[in-house]
């Protein structure tokens, strides 16, 4: 046997360049004669726009062009395309690449300035004078469907974007006969993705072959290619979209943005390369955000604490436009019933327009919201019935003997949703064992000293490996080196390493010989997007299949070359030899040279040229990951500070391809959720002005606040793909908010403070403590 790679803690192939400053992010691309763009953005949340006076800007030395939508004529007449059209969308309103008559959020693009340098472009952009006629603003999403609500779009009859509903079981009867029904209202607040690299685009046009190349900091280069080609009326063969190194994505980079269209049109029009790099303030104004939801929900429970069903309604803020179909609210809906075996469910989500930045998935998409709802309700049942919180969950989870378990939910095509496998009880029990039996004693001892300790627990299930595919091609070069190509884009997950591990083991080569090239439409024909924790499952399975095919081809040719039987051959470290006779050998490079062809020399009989294969593993069913988190916190009731003392994760994402990388995904995801729970607060005032537009006002988690996070794995391989993989990219984030809020709630239970919202700033926590004291 050669070296085993799958499951090993292989160091990342990506790192040597990144630790020495040799990464190539979009702003590191420098082309000859390149120009720089800066955008004029709306300063109003909702307004008609009249005259746009560009004279002063155009007069600045170094400015090449100042352009509005009108200047592009028919090339920019259409609004942006809807990438995910669905009949359920009542008002599929998308923005224009540059606004034409109306602006609907602060930050919406109105005009673009192109100059010889970025500072000059930005100086000139500030000189563009836009005539605004303000319109009524909708900046409070909970009121968006009120009869007297201002509409976020002039001329719209209301603010309803779509209503989604999921139902199963006899909800009416079960709630009528249930021994206990409890009702809660829950508020969840918006934050941003805040990848450390902002967005950015470089566009270059070559009029000779009529080829347009776009480098963009994206999670979805193939989506950008398709939509951009459609918008430009350009054949996809003349448009190359590539994601270079991308400095974090976290969801919002999976969309298609106005700036990508504008840059493409600028490069065509000016016939010079053009670069635009988003600055951090623009990131607050113009990159999509997430998580604003308001829930009014009821839970039905049996006397023993078993959760029977859930019903309720959610108002979901979609922001000003629909850049991403209904995928975000649909993800919230589809995340029910979580790990719980429910007899009934009836959930309605009304997605509404507001005059704020559009909302699309941020790490976890709608799942952290749903986990928050389910877990707050589970805690509520436990509290009301005075049953241990873990026990309520134990009694309500899908049992191990129930897999595959049909939840009652339906997929988009109407087929039943089925949980393939999982370890819900095992993860919970392991977390509780790690917490130990002494927590209550410690909590009581602390309370006697006036210190407020709390324990939070939350469980989750995650649908991963979203259909349909990410393909992989593997090609052995005459040197014996191997090139692996895929359409799947990376933003730091370590896909190159993981795919190379699978390839190395499947083919029988050393990982050092493998070069991975990804996310470039010029190098691989098809791709979907890096979203929904899907790349390890889809591309990983494709890598396995492609490696098997290359291996089979190599063995067939080697048997011919060595005059040996195929079944007697093994491949080790890139050398095919007869088992037990290492001197009877041929290298993969020699086989590749044989299959590269030479004049007059026929191919081996029955073998096509090229030692290569392409595979598309087709993900037809969903592997579900699961886990339970727990946190111990201490709340200072004088200052409102929440200190996280300990954070535990027991997690099951099937077979671990590289435990070190999975741990990295989990820990990073948890910290994102902790940020949502305690720090990150994207504030808009009543006129739709964003008030938190820098990192002094919008707080991200820092090293000093983060607790040690302990991660343990249980491996329940998925039966749905050859390697037993389930996704791991978002499983850290999904339960983290619910875990922290559960812990704070537990800590403050003696003060009768109940937490039904996030984020919890110290100020907000003190308000809640004061209000509970006044209520007595």
């Amino acid at each position: 046997m050669g070296v085993r790679y799958i499951g090993a803690e292989v160091k990342r192939l990506e790192d040597p360049k990144l630790i020495t400053g040799r990464g190539r992010y979009v702003d590191d691309i420098h082309l000859p004669a390149m120009l720089h763009a800066a955008f004029v953005r709306s300063s109003h949340a909702h307004a008609k726009i009249g005259d746009i006076d560009v004279a002063a800007a155009a007069a600045v030395p170094g400015v090449v062009a100042v352009l509005t939508a009108a200047d592009f004529g028919p090339r920019m007449a259409a609004a942006m395309p809807q990438p995910y059209a669905a009949p359920v969308i009542k008002q599929s309103i998308t923005q224009h690449p540059l606004a034409r008559e109306e602006v609907c959020y602060v930050g919406e693009t109105i005009a673009v300035v192109v100059a010889e340098s970025r500072p000059v472009a930005e100086d000139a952009a500030a000189l563009v004078a836009v005539d605004y006629a303000p319109l009524p603003v909708m900046a409070e999403f909970r009121k968006a469907l009120d009869a007297d609500a201002a509409t976020a779009h002039a001329g719209a009859s209301d603010n309803l974007m779509a209503t989604l509903r999921a139902q199963f079981g006899d909800t009416e009867a079960i709630f009528a006969s249930a021994p206990h029904v409890f009702r809660e209202t829950l508020s969840q607040h918006r934050g941003g993705c805040h990848a450390m690299e902002c967005r950015g685009v470089v566009a270059s046009f070559d009029p000779g072959p009529d080829e347009l190349t776009i480098w963009t900091s994206t999670q979805a280069p193939y989506l950008v290619r398709r939509l951009l080609a459609g918008y430009l009326g350009r054949d996809e063969s003349t448009l190359r979209v590539a994601a270079p190194d991308v400095g974090g994505g976290f969801g919002p980079k999976a969309g298609f943005y106005a700036e990508e269209i504008v840059l493409a049109l600028l490069a065509e029009r000016l016939q010079r390369p053009v670069k635009w790099i988003e600055d951090r303030r623009e990131h607050f104004y113009a990159t999509t955000q997430q998580r604003d939801q308001f829930w009014d929900v009821e839970v039905a429970a049996a006397s023993d604490g078993r959760i029977l069903g859930l019903r309720g309604r959610c108002i979901h803020d979609n922001g000003a436009y629909v850049p991403y179909g209904v995928l975000l609210p649909a993800t919230s809906l589809a995340a029910f019933p979580g790990p719980y075996a429910l007899a009934c469910l009836d959930i309605r989500i009304d997605a509404v327009f507001t005059n704020m930045v559009p909302n699309t998935p941020v790490r976890g998409a709608g799942r952290p919201n749903t986990a928050f709802v389910l877990e707050r309700m589970a805690d509520r049942v436990a509290r009301e019935l005075k049953i241990d919180r873990a026990e309520v969950r134990r009694r309500s989870f899908v049992r191990p003997d129930q897999f595959p378990y049909e939840t009652g939910m339906k997929a988009r095509d109407g087929s039943p949703i089925s949980y393939d496998s999982g370890s819900y009880h095992a993860c919970l029990d392991r977390v509780m064992a790690k917490i130990g039996t002494d927590f209550v004693a410690r909590q009581q001892a602390a309370r006697a000293e006036g210190r407020y300790l709390g324990l939070g627990i939350a469980a989750y299930v995650e649908d991963t490996g979203l259909a349909p595919f990410e393909g992989v091609s593997i090609r052995v070069l005459p040197s014996g080196d191997v090139v692996l190509r895929t359409g799947a884009a990376s933003q730091g997950q370590g896909h190159a390493t993981v795919l190379a591990q699978i390839c190395a083991e499947g083919l029988g080569v050393r990982i050092e010989r493998i070069k991975v090239e990804a996310a470039d439409t010029g190098k691989f024909p098809l791709g979907i997007a890096t979203v929904a924790s899907r790349v390890a499952v889809t591309a990983g399975s494709s890598a396995q299949l492609a490696a098997e095919r290359v291996r089979a081809k190599a063995l067939k040719v080697a048997a011919d070359m060595l005059e040996a039987a195929e079944q007697d051959l093994v491949i080790e470290d890139g050398i095919v030899h007869v088992a037990g006779v290492p001197e009877m050998k041929v290298t993969l490079g020699e086989i590749a040279r044989r299959l590269a062809g030479a004049p007059g020399q026929p191919m081996p009989a029955g073998v096509e040229p090229d030692l290569a294969a392409t595979a598309y593993f087709e993900a037809r069913q969903t592997p579900f990951a699961n886990g339970t988190n727990a946190a111990e916190v201490e709340v200072d009731i004088e200052t409102g500070e929440v200190k996280i003392l300990r954070y535990l994760v027991v997690h099951d994402c099937g077979r671990l391809l590289n435990p070190r990388l999975v741990d990295g995904q989990i820990v990073g995801g948890v910290v994102h959720g902790i940020g949502n729970a305690l720090y990150e607060r994207m504030v808009y005032d009543e006129s739709g002005q964003p008030l938190t537009t820098n990192y002094g006002e919008y707080l991200l988690p820092l090293a000093t606040e983060m607790p040690p996070i302990e991660v343990e794995h249980i491996e329940t391989p998925s039966p749905l793909n050859p390697l037993g993989i389930k996704g791991a990219g978002e499983g850290g984030t999904i339960p983290a908010i619910a875990t922290i809020i559960s812990a704070v709630d537990d800590a403050l239970a003696p003060l009768n403070v109940r937490i039904a919202e996030y984020p919890l700033s110290p100020e907000r926590l003190l308000d809640l403590i004061d209000a509970a004291a006044k209520a007595g």
Partner: protein
């Protein structure tokens, strides 16, 4: 607006002389004037720390410093942390070993901040290291592996003294 001044400095041990606009900040100068794109710009308002470089040995946010202020200084960027023969700095090795980076965008600032800190505080413990990088934001890692890497690098650096 576009007043220019000639500056001379050393960057990663090499002498550099350039005419620069007085308003150009050091990060843009390093990235776009002399092509050292390893230094990253994450917020341009001095909070995220991605642009940290060493100026005469001190960790400095290069988005908050003008290039003209570096006249006469010795600047070290992430490209200059390894030895000229390519031997990695102990921090670089430790970040690789401990999976201390994911997207890699904050990494140059983490490495330079920690290089300066560990030089001055060779016996740093975990709370010290967390404080030392409290001005560097990472959205990917949750900091845990960065801290582990820094502790390991500190040990290696102590042993190498």
């Amino acid at each position: 607006m576009s007043e220019k001044r000639r500056i001379s400095l050393t960057v990663n041990g090499k002498a550099v002389e350039r005419e620069v606009e007085t308003r150009t900040h050091l990060a843009d100068f390093l990235r776009h004037e002399i092509g050292l794109t390893g230094t990253h710009v994450g917020c341009e308002h001095g909070v995220c720390g991605a642009c940290t470089v060493l100026v005469d040995g001190a960790a400095v946010r290069s988005c908050l410093m003008l290039a003209v202020q570096a006249d006469g200084a010795a600047v070290t960027t992430v490209e200059g942390l390894a030895r000229p023969d390519g031997t990695l700095h102990p921090l670089q090795t430790a970040f690789w070993e401990h999976h201390g980076l994911q997207c890699g965008f904050c990494t140059p600032g983490m490495l330079t901040s920690l290089a300066a800190y560990l030089e001055a505080h060779p016996n740093a413990d975990e709370p010290d290291i967390r404080r030392a990088i409290s001005g560097n934001i990472c959205r990917c890692t949750g900091y845990q592996n960065i801290v582990a890497a820094a502790l390991d690098a500190a040990r290696v650096m102590r042993e190498g003294r």
